[in-house]
């Protein structure tokens, strides 16, 4: 092994560290959850404070609980209760879908935020 090889290894390691910094900083911080019923946004709340919410689904009330930055469907009326069995979700990539109630709970990362709101 020559000196140039060692320099190469060290420089690749440094490149790895340099590359990892912007990725760490750009990691999306999930803060808000959006509840959609029949493709319409009905509720938007912060995940930072623990609270309970309720929306009107197709088959009745869907109650949603926020706890420690994660969200779950606490109680709902549907044949199989898939969405309440799913439990707490804190990732932007996993929505909670309750098809019988036509309700979708989705966490929005900072990156996906709206640019401009036109009314």
């Amino acid at each position: 092994m020559r000196k140039a090889d060692k320099i190469l290894i060290v420089s690749i390691m440094i490149a790895c560290l340099v590359l990892i910094i912007p990725i760490m900083q750009n990691a999306p911080v999930s803060k808000e959850a959006v509840v959609q019923v029949k493709n319409k946004e009905v509720l938007r709340f912060s995940l930072l404070e623990n609270a309970n919410y309720a929306v009107d689904g197709t088959l009745g009330k869907v109650s949603i609980e926020v706890k420690d930055g994660a969200v779950r469907v606490k109680q709902e009326n549907s044949p199989h209760h898939y969405c309440s069995k799913q439990g707490f979700v804190d990732s932007v990539n996993t929505p909670i879908v309750c098809l019988p109630n036509e309700t979708v709970v989705r966490i929005e990362g900072q990156e996906d935020g709206e640019d401009v709101q036109i009314q």
Binding site: D5, L19, I23
Partner: protein, 172 residues
């Protein structure tokens, strides 16, 4: 190219295919998806040092095409990733070999690194998503390890084969 060399290159391609197939049977499942040591690169590196860059290109492209033909992934996404990584790593290895700055270790590590870079570029182009770039630093760090392993093995093979296939001028 005489007949003897042609036959040896064909044997190298066959060996590379076997290595690649065996490795695909036992994927080293780690935290990082898509990480492989790339034992088949031994063959490419051997061809580069025992013969010439031109012979490495023959061996590597032959191995990529035939192995994917045997695996049934010809012209699929896995094949495109293999080709893009292979081409870029060949390019880097030839440049590093020609520059005569690096020993076999440096050449191998550069090849492994650029294989990963090529694959990430291809994934980004195909899927138009940037999520694989999150793995690039980790893949690069791991490619140092795999590059060193491959270089170590190839160096031993070259030292043991010295004088049997004809001499090579470049110091390992």
């Amino acid at each position: 190219m005489n007949t003897k060399k042609g036959v040896i290159l064909a044997f190298l391609i066959a060996l590379g295919i076997v290595f690649q197939l065996i490795e695909s049977f036992f994927p080293i499942v780690m935290v990082v998806p898509g990480y492989k040591i790339g034992i088949a690169n031994i063959v490419s590196l051997f061809a580069l040092y025992a013969y010439s860059p031109k012979d490495m290109v023959i061996v590597t492209t032959g191995r990529i095409f035939l192995a994917s033909l045997l695996q049934g992934t010809l012209f699929s996404i896995a094949f495109l990733l293999s080709v893009s990584g292979g081409l870029l790593s060949m390019f880097a290895m030839i440049l590093a070999y020609r520059s005569k700055i690096f020993s076999i270790y440096g050449v191998s590590i550069l090849g492994a690194c650029f294989h990963n870079v090529g694959q990430v570029l291809a994934i980004t182009y195909i899927y138009q998503q940037y999520f694989m770039q999150l793995f690039l630093p980790i893949l690069l760090a791991l490619s140092i390890v795999s590059g060193l392993c491959i270089a170590l093995l190839t160096r031993q093979i070259l030292l043991r084969m010295k004088g049997k296939l004809g001499l090579w001028k470049t110091s390992i």
